[in-house]
């Protein structure tokens, strides 16, 4: 074994070092290069050094991505058919744009915005949200007077709602009768009572159906919005918790560095003291 300063390898030394380092090498080339390594300290040293670099590189891990975000957005693509590519692109771009302004806003603003949306939605729909021993209870209603929104039990609410609906029906019925009476007097003809009764009942059914349908739609809408708001708040909460963890980590990091430095200084001082003649 020699200690050559200069390498006398005949072939492409750099290429062979890489091939050997990454074990991406033909068997004949490997044997030949190993024979060379046995006699060349320079190549051995370089190979060891590059191996150390690889060991250090192996410790470099990218930060954990918010893969959920990636998946949520890229899944938009996959949720479209293969023929709906243009639409998918528009959807993903729109999602990206929505994400950016929302993400850039501070946390308090995001929470405030969510609450504002919730509040406005609740106001529009005359929303009544209760959380009691029966669990979360969301109700919507129309034209409820402010006085009726006082603190009453859930059963009282239901009675109030029924009373209001009955009142509304009565009002509509009387208005309808009035309009019919006006119309028949204008035509100078008597309206058969049976027909009027029949029209009232029909109108009542239609109004009730309309009210029920509208209430059902609003309930669904509000439940959906509530779900979205709760999900957004939860994700924001998780992000805040992660931030707190990160800050703690940074604090520990700084503290650790300080401890390490102090320890090194202490070692250095002890070393110097021990080296001094008695």
């Amino acid at each position: 074994m020699t200690n050559d300063i200069l390498c006398g390898y005949a072939g492409d030394r750099e290429a062979m070092l890489m091939a050997y380092l990454y074990d991406d090498i033909a068997e004949g080339d490997r044997q030949a290069f190993e024979q060379h390594l046995a006699t060349c300290a320079r190549c051995r040293t370089e190979l060891n050094g590059l191996g150390d670099v690889r060991a250090q590189l192996a410790r470099w891990a990218p930060p954990e991505p918010t893969v959920a975000g990636i998946r949520r957005q890229t899944s938009i693509v996959a949720s479209h058919s293969i023929t709906g590519i243009t639409g998918a692109a528009a959807a993903i771009e729109t999602a990206g744009a929505r994400r950016s302004w929302w993400r850039d806003a501070p946390a308090w603003a995001q929470v405030a915005a969510a609450l504002l949306v919730l509040g406005v939605s609740a106001g529009i729909a005359n929303l009544d949200v209760r959380y009691d021993s029966n669990g979360l209870n969301i109700r919507t209603g129309w034209s409820r007077p402010a006085a009726a929104a006082a603190d009453v039990s859930a059963s009282t609410d239901a009675e109030n709602l029924r009373a209001q609906l009955a009142s509304l029906e009565q009002q509509l019925r009387s208005e309808f009768r009035a309009s019919q009476a006006a119309a028949s007097s204008a035509q100078g003809q008597a309206v058969p009572v049976l027909v009027a009764h029949s029209s009232d009942a029909d109108l009542m059914r239609r109004v009730k159906a309309l009210v029920d349908d509208s209430e059902r739609r609003q309930r669904n809408e509000i439940a959906l919005r509530m779900g979205e708001a709760i999900r957004d708040l939860n994700s924001q909460r998780q992000a805040d918790l992660r931030k707190i963890d990160q800050n703690l980590g940074m604090f520990q990091d700084r503290t650790g560095v300080e401890v390490l430095r102090n320890r090194q200084k202490l070692d250095y001082i002890l070393q110097r003291v021990s080296q001094q003649p008695q």
Binding site: D12, E14, A15, L17, M18, A19, L21, Y22, D24, G49, L50, D52, V53, R54, Q56, L57, A58, R59, W60, A61, P62, P63, E64, P65, T66, V67, G69, I70, R71, Q73, T74, S75, V77, A78, S79, H80, S81, I82, T83, I85, A88, A89, I92, G96, R242, K243, D245, Q246, N247, L248, G249, M250, Q252, D253, T255, G256, V257, V259, L260, R263
Partner: protein, 191 residues
């Protein structure tokens, strides 16, 4: 859902959205890691990752299967990384991530590992990031593809569109710079 990439691609092309979702699940982390190590910014790496899958989806009807799906995906991602570097008109800066991967490291380490060990590992990560940021784009790309994605020299040459010998030269030069910079960083930290 199981199957090879090629089977999932075939099913995606016939309109099965779940198959493409499966491909995303399978490859999103490697593509994100490739983008992060190439351009060095978490946010941008995430965007590149998303854009990669979007472009792949758009181009799926034209995928003829001459190359592996993963190689095709890598090529899209690398082109996007190149575009990013050109658009930004600067060398990518590998930044230590804002979020504390010290915490992740702490969670992943044995309970016996001391805070000093953690700090040293953290410092090493930073040193690697700083040294990688010094490399030209093509050297960094070669190292990332070889070191972290296990591609063969030939696969890297195909992706980079250069001779195989050039790939080895780029790797050698890149690793040599890293070796020097990491040694220098270690000396500085000891002072």
């Amino acid at each position: 859902m199981t199957g090879t990439d090629e089977e999932l691609v075939a099913r995606s092309m016939s309109g099965d959205a779940d198959s493409f979702n499966e491909l995303i699940l399978r490859w999103e982390r490697p593509i994100y890691a490739l983008a992060y190590r190439t351009i060095g910014r978490e946010e941008d790496a995430r965007d590149v990752c998303q854009e990669t899958f979007l472009r792949a989806y758009r181009a799926l009807p034209g995928f003829r299967g001459q190359a592996k799906f993963s190689s095709w995906l890598y090529r899209i991602a690398l082109n996007l990384c190149r575009d990013w570097v050109r658009r930004e008109r600067r060398t990518p800066v590998v930044q230590p991530p804002e979020d504390g991967d010290l915490m992740e490291m702490a969670a992943a380490t044995e309970p016996s590992e001391s805070i000093e060990d953690l700090v040293m590992r953290k410092d090493l990560t930073r040193s690697v990031e700083r040294a990688m940021a010094l490399l030209p784009e093509e050297q960094r790309m070669a190292i990332v593809l070889k070191e972290y994605h296990g591609l063969t020299f030939q696969e890297i040459a195909d992706l980079a569109g250069c001779p195989l010998s050039t790939v080895k030269t780029r790797l050698y030069q890149g690793l040599t710079v890293l070796r020097r910079e990491l040694a220098r960083g270690a000396k500085v930290s000891m002072k």
